[in-house]
C-alpha cells in the first residue's frame, strides 16, 4: 500500500491538558503540554488521569445535582453504570467497572459538567497555537514549551512534530520523560529537544519493577545512549522522593555516580512526594496503591540536596 504523506502540522495526538505559566518544568516560564498514556505504573503517581492512552471519563460529585437530574441513570448510559444509594446521599455513585465504556458522547449529555472526559485529540497546530499565546513570557524569562505526561515518548511522531513545530516558531523546548520505551521512539523525539528532564526513580531493577511495574535496565541504557548521542542537549535528572522507597542517601549517590560522568547532565532535582493526586484517583475510579506514605521531611530533603550540591560543586 502506498504510504500517505501527512503534513506534520496535521498529525494528531491525545492531549490531557495544556497548562500555562508553569515554573517547575524547565527554564523560565513555560507552557506544559500533558500527553496521555504511560508505560509505567508508579504507585505514587500524582497524575492518574494521564496513565491510560485513550480519553476517559471522570466524575466530580461537587458538580452533580444528583437526584434532581438523574439523566445518567437512563439510556444511552450503560445499564448499572450510575446509581443512587438509599439514604440521604443525593449524589450519583459511579460503578467504574460498568462506566468504563462511556465516551465523549455520554459526557456531553451531563448538563452540569460533573461527567467530563480527561483527554482529547488535537492536531500539532492546535496545540502550538495555544502554546504560542505566551511567547512574550518565554522571551522575557528564557522559557518555552514542555511536553510532559504520561510518557511523552509513547506518542513519538506527535511529540516530535510538536517540538519541531515549536522550534520553527522560535520556542524553546523541553520534555519530561521516564524513557521506558524502545530507543527508536526516543531517537525520533530528542533531535528537537533543548532540555530533557528525566526520572531516576529507583536504582535496583527488582525494586524499580516492584514500585513502577517495569525494571530499569532499558531505561538506564536509554539514558546513557541519550547523554552520549545528543551532546548538545541539556539533561536534568530528577527523583520523585518517597520515604521508605527511594528517599535515601544510597539512591542519591548511585544516581550521581551514573550522571556525573556526563557533562551535559547539568543538574539533579529532588521532587518530594505529596498526596495531591489522591482526589483524582477517586474521580477516575482508580485504586490508589500508596495508601499510607508520608511526605518527606524538609530536613531529609535538605540533607539529600546537600549531597547533590556537593557533587555539582555548588557548596
Amino acid at each position: 500500500m502506498k504510504k500517505q504523506n501527512i503534513n506534520p502540522s496535521d498529525i494528531t495526538g491525545t492531549v490531557l491538558n495544556i497548562q500555562r505559566y508553569c515554573s517547575h518544568d524547565g527554564p523560565g516560564i513555560r507552557t506544559t503540554v500533558f500527553l496521555k498514556g504511560c508505560s509505567l505504573r508508579c504507585k505514587w503517581c500524582s497524575n492518574p488521569e494521564s496513565i491510560r492512552m485513550k480519553p476517559e471519563l471522570s466524575y466530580d460529585p461537587k458538580k452533580c445535582t444528583g437526584r434532581k437530574c438523574g439523566l445518567c441513570l437512563k439510556s444511552p448510559f450503560p445499564e448499572g453504570a450510575f446509581y443512587f444509594v438509599e439514604g440521604d446521599d443525593e449524589h450519583v455513585k459511579v460503578n467504574w467497572d460498568l462506566a468504563m465504556d462511556c465516551d465523549e458522547t455520554h459526557a456531553s449529555l451531563c448538563p452540569t459538567g460533573a461527567l467530563e472526559m480527561f483527554g482529547k485529540t488535537m492536531t500539532v497546530n492546535e496545540v502550538l497555537d495555544e502554546v504560542e499565546k505566551d511567547s512574550s513570557f518565554y522571551r522575557n524569562t528564557g522559557g518555552g514549551m514542555t511536553i510532559s505526561g504520561g510518557e511523552v515518548m509513547l506518542q513519538p511522531d506527535f511529540a516530535a512534530a510538536l517540538l519541531k513545530g515549536a522550534h520553527d516558531r522560535g520556542i524553546n523546548t523541553a520534555v519530561e520523560t521516564a524513557c521506558n520505551v524502545p530507543w527508536a521512539n526516543i531517537e525520533k523525539v530528542l533531535p528537537h529537544v533543548d532540555t530533557m528532564l528525566h526520572d531516576h526513580k529507583l536504582t535496583i531493577p527488582e525494586r524499580h519493577k516492584k514500585w513502577t511495574g517495569a525494571d530499569n535496565k532499558r531505561i538506564k541504557e536509554n539514558f546513557k545512549k541519550a547523554y552520549e548521542m545528543f551532546p548538545d542537549t541539556t539533561f536534568i535528572a530528577r527523583t520523585p522522593l518517597i520515604p521508605g522507597v527511594n528517599a535515601d542517601e544510597e539512591h542519591i549517590r548511585a544516581v550521581l555516580a551514573f550522571i556525573r560522568p556526563h557533562k551535559n547532565v547539568i543538574d539533579y532535582e529532588l521532587l518530594p512526594y505529596h498526596r495531591f493526586g489522591l482526589g483524582k484517583y477517586q474521580s477516575l475510579g482508580v485504586v490508589y496503591e500508596l495508601d499510607d506514605y508520608k511526605t518527606p521531611s524538609d530536613d531529609l530533603v535538605k540533607k539529600l540536596q546537600a549531597i547533590i550540591d556537593e557533587a555539582f560543586g555548588r557548596k
Binding site: 517547575h24 506544559t32 505504573r41 444509594v85 455513585k93 520505551v181 513502577t212 517495569a214 505529596h274 490508589y288
Partner: protein, 386 residues
C-alpha cells in the same frame, strides 16, 4: 451439555475473609452428591490467565479426598489475587511497557476449553460487578457474597462479617481495659468505609461511650460534650469506636505540610488533599477524632486502629455454617438452572438474586434500625440526637 455430569469451577475474589475453605467444602460436598466434578481456579482468575505460573495449569482438582482433609477453619486453599478483574489485567507488552489489557474473551475461551459449564465465584461488592459483566458476555456464573463490612444489600449477612465482628469485640474489650488502666480515652478505628455495622454492633457489645458511623455525620463538639458528662473521677476513662469511613461536620482544616523546596511533582497536581474526594487511609479517622477531642476536653485521648487484623484468623461458628451453606446454595442454584445470580441469605431461606439487582446496592445502617435503637437504650452516643 449433560446436566447429569457437570464440571464446575470455583474461585475467590480479592480480599481474604475467614471462612473461605468452608465455602469451598460446601460447594464440593453438594456437587459431589450430584455426581459433579469441581475444580478450583488458583488466585482469583490468575490461574487461568497465567497458566504457566503454576505446575497444575492454574486449576486445582477439588476431589472429595482433598476436601476430606481440608480444614474449614484454615485459610483459603485456592489463594487470591490482588484484584479479580479480567477486563483490566496489568501486563508487560512486547515492547516491555506496562499496560492493562482486556483478557475477558481469553478467560471465557479457557473456561470453555476446560469444559467448565458453571462458575461459583466468591466475591465482594466490586467482584459482583465484574462477574455481572462476565455473565453478560455469556459466563454461567453464581456469586457468593463475602464482606467484612456486611455492606452487600441483597443478603442479610455476608460470610466473613461475623468473624470480623467477633474479633473486633475482643479487641475493643482489650482497648477498654487498657484505657481504664491508663485513665485515658481510647479512640478505636474499626472497619467500615461505607457501612457502620461493625462499629455499631461491636460498640453495642462492649457498651462503648460513643460510636461514630459513616451513615450519621458527626460534629465532634457534640461527642466532646457527651464525654465530658460521662467522664468523672470515678470513671476517668472512655471508649470511642469510629468506623473508618465516619463523616465529620465542621472539622478543623488539617492542611498537609508540603516541602518548601518544591511544591509538587507536576504543576497539574495542585488540588487540595482535603477535598471531599480524599481516599480513606487506615488510621485517619481515629487520628482525627482523638486529636480533635483532646483539643475540646481536658482528658487525654489516643488512637488505635484494628485495620486489617480482622481479615485473618479462623472463622466463627456462624461463618463456618454460613460458608458451608453458601457453597451448597451455589450448587443448588446451578442445579436449578439459575445463571447470573448471587446466593443471598434471607432468613429463613437462601434465595437467588439476579446480579443486575445485587450490584450498586449498599447495605447501610438506617437511623431507625433496631441496632440504633438498642444503642440509644444503652446510652451509647451516635454523634447526634436521633
Amino acid at each position: 451439555m449433560n446436566i447429569d455430569r457437570r464440571r464446575i469451577a470455583i474461585n475467590v475474589g480479592a480480599g481474604y475473609v475467614p471462612g473461605i475453605n468452608a465455602v469451598i467444602m460446601g460447594a464440593v460436598l453438594a456437587a459431589g452428591r450430584l455426581g459433579w466434578e469441581v475444580v478450583g481456579i488458583r488466585n482469583g482468575f490468575e490461574g487461568l490467565l497465567s497458566r504457566d505460573h503454576s505446575p497444575d495449569g492454574g486449576l486445582v482438582d477439588l476431589s472429595p479426598k482433598l476436601i476430606e482433609n481440608l480444614d474449614p477453619s484454615a485459610g483459603g486453599v485456592l489463594g487470591q489475587s490482588a484484584r479479580i478483574d479480567p477486563f483490566h489485567v496489568r501486563t508487560i507488552n512486547k515492547d516491555d511497557m506496562v499496560e492493562e489489557v482486556d483478557l475477558s474473551d481469553d478467560l471465557l475461551k479457557t473456561l470453555q476449553d476446560e469444559m467448565i459449564d458453571g462458575l461459583i465465584s466468591v466475591v465482594g461488592g466490586q467482584g459482583l460487578s465484574i462477574l455481572y459483566k462476565l455473565h453478560r458476555k455469556g459466563l454461567n456464573a453464581v456469586c457468593i457474597p463475602r464482606s467484612i463490612e456486611n455492606d452487600i444489600a441483597a443478603t442479610m449477612v455476608s460470610f466473613g462479617f461475623n468473624s470480623a465482628l467477633s474479633f473486633t469485640i475482643e479487641m475493643l474489650d482489650r482497648a477498654r481495659q487498657a484505657a481504664q488502666s491508663a485513665r485515658k480515652i481510647a479512640v478505636v478505628e474499626v472497619q467500615g468505609e461505607q457501612a457502620g455495622w461493625i462499629a455499631l454492633q461491636a460498640g453495642i457489645a462492649v457498651c462503648a461511650d460513643a460510636v461514630l458511623i459513616p451513615e450519621i455525620p458527626v460534629d465532634l463538639k457534640n461527642v466532646a460534650a457527651r464525654l465530658k458528662d460521662k467522664i468523672s473521677a470515678r470513671r476517668p476513662y472512655g471508649l470511642v469506636v469510629v468506623a473508618q469511613g465516619a463523616q465529620f461536620i465542621n472539622k478543623a482544616k488539617n492542611e498537609e505540610a508540603v516541602s518548601s523546596l518544591k511544591a509538587s511533582l507536576s504543576p497539574l497536581a495542585t488540588g487540595s488533599s482535603n477535598s471531599e474526594h480524599v481516599i480513606l487511609s487506615s488510621g485517619q479517622a481515629a487520628q482525627t477524632v482523638a486529636t480533635e477531642l483532646q483539643l475540646l476536653i481536658a482528658e487525654e485521648t489516643y488512637p488505635l486502629v484494628i485495620g486489617p487484623w480482622v481479615r485473618g484468623g479462623a472463622p466463627t461458628a456462624v461463618d463456618r455454617q454460613l460458608g458451608l451453606g453458601y457453597g451448597a446454595g451455589a450448587v443448588r442454584a446451578l442445579n436449578a438452572g439459575k445463571n447470573g445470580v448471587m446466593v443471598a441469605f434471607v432468613p429463613p431461606d437462601m434465595k437467588f438474586v439476579p446480579l443486575a439487582e445485587a450490584i450498586n446496592k449498599v447495605r447501610t445502617v438506617s437511623t431507625d434500625s433496631l441496632f440504633v435503637k438498642i444503642a440509644q437504650s444503652l446510652g451509647i452516643f451516635l454523634g447526634r440526637e436521633l
